[in-house]
Amino acid sequence: MNVSSAAVRACGLVKTHGQGQSRVRAVDQVDLEVPQGQMLAVMGPSGCGKSTLLHLLGGLERPTDGEVWVAGRRIDTLSERALARMRRRSVGFIFQAFHLVEELSAAENVELPALLAGRSRRQARRRASLLLERVGLADRAWHLPSQLSGGQRQRVAVARALVNEPLVVLADEPTGNLDTTATLEALRIFEELRTAGQTLVIVTHDERVAATADRLVSMRDGMFVDDARLAGSPTRGLGGLIGLEG
């Protein structure tokens, strides 16, 4: 596969935290290539380095060693300023704690990345209302995050991540703070994104979230231990799931 067709690529990625005795390899020699349109889930127990990996891919942290490429461009050597610019165009983040700006209404939160990317106010507003409608929150656009439920907040965060039509969306435990109903809504949205061909990397320990992905890598102690393709034609019909196989 040539370099440019991969939305995100990492080679020999290493990230260590701490120094001396307490030095921890959060990410240890990871090679990864996410082609455009693929939805990748990274699973593993907490502390396995999956969040750090996500931060490295989005340029929020700098690797100790190795390379990170986003949209065919190496980003681990970029300045903070250039990284910020790269994030505007190419990366959308979704976090477990939602991380909405509490002072801004839902619509303003969604507009924010668009404005940072230099879109006009009218354009930003139009994109925001479109996306809020898509996540089913058109009637809550002017609510503050504190007036929204956890599920609604996460949907605002999803809309915000999508507003600049990023090449890749990076989601860190997106359902970690959600109840069952809200998780289902979130799963529905991720499923929609997958069918729409959005490149997506989701870090999760929820099997259901992982199961929406086309591909699943498992991480232990900073390393990939399994890489499974979930997509493809099912071996038997759905009836097999409840023992109805003919």
Binding site: L60, A84, H99, V101, L104, S105, P113, L116, R121, S146
Partner: protein, 596 residues
């Protein structure tokens, strides 16, 4: 006992944890109380210095002066000396109006008093260096000599005749330099003059050689110095032109040079206290979250709300009182220099009186109480459970802000939102800026005043000491105010940055550059500074008009505009530093810290 130990331990821990805050509080209170303690007893210090000079120089109770000369005047003055209330006298003696030029060509009006070579019973000028007058030599009054920069051994030219300066002395019989003349030639108005002494014959020779104007004077000592005014009233009926100056009047005259000093110091101390309160309140606000958590913790282990409030207040009170004590000591040390800008008086200022100590202490306590009031009340109100999970409070939605921010560039939008989140802090910043601008306006106004120098014909070769003294004091007060305002601005920006770090980290993940974040934080501080600077100018002018003379000049509006602009620019520059530091924090770390 255990209770006190516990409080002391918690207070010490608090101070150790917040060394910078403790230092700022201590400094702010010290500066404010020192200024107040200098300003309040100014009259007392001035009077004390006069008293000491009077005692050391056998100062007269009344000086009778006449612009006329001749036998009638001489006999009228001599008859005064024979009044029953008079127990001693000196004179009549000549006062010759001349001019004096130093070797480096500084010229000044001078009055020359003809004295005996051996001092009399009353008005015995005290030599601070050199010797008393002898034939051909002159003694200069110390305030005058200091202004001229002349010392013993130098030569001066008086009315064209050269004299060696043989001594330097002080007297309580005349007002301080440059009001030594007391009356002008022929009883008319007098110029700013210095004072010199010569022997009687030298004075006579000087007067006659140039036909200089002459006045006569008599110093008397009364049985009861307190009756000086009565003595004066009883003898005013004379048909001759005789002016009487009581010793009380002369002492009062010493205050003329300090006319603006007291308002500068007292109002300055209020402004400094105000800034101290805003600054310390900003620091306290920064600690609110932590403080609330601590209060919750103490409550959870069974401490009464009273203990929590006591610990918080004790910490601030202890620091404020330490600052108070320090301020009073500083005031004590520099009071004579402030109360006596000329060298015409001798002596030490007594320690600040009970009233001053009480007022300064009240000020210090007020700073401590006012700046901790809100956090203390909040900590006491907050329920234990909510306190333990305390985080920043919920923002309110302000639709007008939404409308307004829709028109602004993104960093400004962020800044505006941050400002709106903490309206109290915005008010503090505005107040801080306004106070600074008030002080700068006052300083500029002082510099804009036209004034006569003390030299010949108002030449400023000899500078106007009063104006110089006022300007120097105002400059000091302004510098102190600006220093406090700088500390305030940095504290407020840092506090805002620390509170906003989660939002700023989020904005970074959305593609905001560190520069944009820093600009947003700066804006959050700059926005409230703008109205502060605008209000500060008219407030400064208004405040000054309460104290200024009717004919005082206003500084050009370009100066005022420049001052406001410079203040804003300085604020922008000051906020940039903490904002930049805050913007450099790694994003991922902040985000994980917020989630945890």
């Amino acid at each position: 006992m255990g209770f006190i130990v516990l409080i002391a331990r918690l207070v010490l821990a608090g101070v150790r944890r917040h060394k910078v805050q403790a230092a700022v509080l201590l400094l702010a209170v010290t500066v404010a109380t020192a200024t107040l303690a200098l300003g309040l007893p100014l009259r007392g210090v001035s009077d004390a210095l006069y008293e000491q000079t009077r005692a050391a120089t056998a100062g007269p109770d009344v000086v009778a002066l006449s612009g006329d000369t001749g036998p009638a005047v001489t006999s009228a003055l001599a008859s005064l000396a024979n009044e029953p209330e008079v127990i001693a006298h000196h004179g009549p003696y000549r006062i010759v109006y001349a001019d004096l030029t130093t070797r480096d060509s500084t010229s000044s009006p001078v009055v020359v008093q003809g004295f005996g070579e051996t001092p009399g019973a009353v008005n015995r000028p005290l030599l601070t260096s050199g010797q008393w007058v002898r034939s051909g030599g002159t003694v200069l009054e110390r305030g005058f000599a200091t202004a001229l920069g002349v010392s013993v051994g130098d030569r001066v030219t008086i009315a064209g005749r050269p004299y060696p300066v043989v001594g330097i002395a002080v007297t309580a019989a005349t007002s301080i330099y440059p009001w030594a003349a007391q009356i002008g030639p022929g009883g008319g108005p007098s110029d700013y003059s210095g004072l010199a002494w010569m022997t009687r014959s030298d004075a006579r020779a000087l007067a006659s050689s140039q036909d200089l104007p002459v006045a006569l004077a008599l110093d008397v000592k009364l049985r009861d110095p307190a009756t000086a005014q009565a003595f004066l009233d009883a003898h005013r009926v004379s048909t001759l032109m005789v002016n009487f100056h009581t010793w009380q009047f002369t002492a009062e005259q010493d205050m003329v040079i300090l006319r603006d000093t007291q308002p500068i110091l007292v109002v300055g101390s209020w402004l400094l206290s105000f800034l101290a309160i805003t600054g310390v309140a900003a620091l306290a606000a920064g600690r609110t979250v932590e403080q609330t958590r601590r209060a919750g913790l103490l409550k959870a282990v069974g401490a009464a709300p009273g203990l929590i409030a006591t610990v918080l207040l004790t910490e601030y009170l202890a620091l404020a009182l330490a600052g108070d004590a320090l301020g009073l000591v500083i005031a004590r040390l520099i009071a004579p220099a402030i109360a006596s800008p000329t060298a015409s008086r001798i002596g030490d200022a007594a320690g600040p009186g009970g009233a001053t100590v009480a007022t300064a202490t009240v000020l210090a306590v007020a700073v401590a109480v006012l700046s901790t009031l809100r956090p203390t009340l909040r900590a006491m109100r907050t329920a234990t459970v909510t306190a333990l999970s305390a985080t920043a409070h919920q923002p309110r939605h302000r639709p007008w802000l939404t409308a307004l921010s829709a028109l602004l560039p993104t960093p400004l939008l962020l800044g505006l939102r941050l400002t709106a989140r903490r309206p109290g802090r915005a008010v503090l910043q505005a107040c801080s800026t306004a106070t600074t601008v008030i002080a700068i306006v006052a300083l500029l106004t002082l510099y804009a005043q036209p004034e006569r120098g003390y030299g010949l014909d108002g030449s400023s070769a000899l500078p106007n000491l009063r104006g110089e003294h006022d300007r120097r004091l105002m400059l000091t007060v302004t510098i102190l105010l600006i220093a406090l305002a700088v500390v305030n601005t940095i504290t407020l920006t840092w506090t805002t940055a620390m509170e906003a770090r989660a939002n700023m980290a989020i904005a970074r993940t959305l593609g905001a550059t560190p520069g944009q974040i820093a600009a947003g934080l700066s804006t959050a501080q700059l926005l409230p500074s703008l109205p502060g600077a605008i209000i500060g100018v008219p407030m400064g002018i208004g405040l000054l008009s309460l104290f200024a003379a009717r004919n005082s000049a206003e500084p050009p509006s370009s100066w005022l505009l420049g001052a406001a602009l410079a203040t804003l620019l300085a604020t922008a520059a000051l906020t940039a530093l903490p904002a930049r530091l805050a913007a450099r924090r790694p994003v991922a770390q902040t985000l994980s810290a917020e989630t945890a």
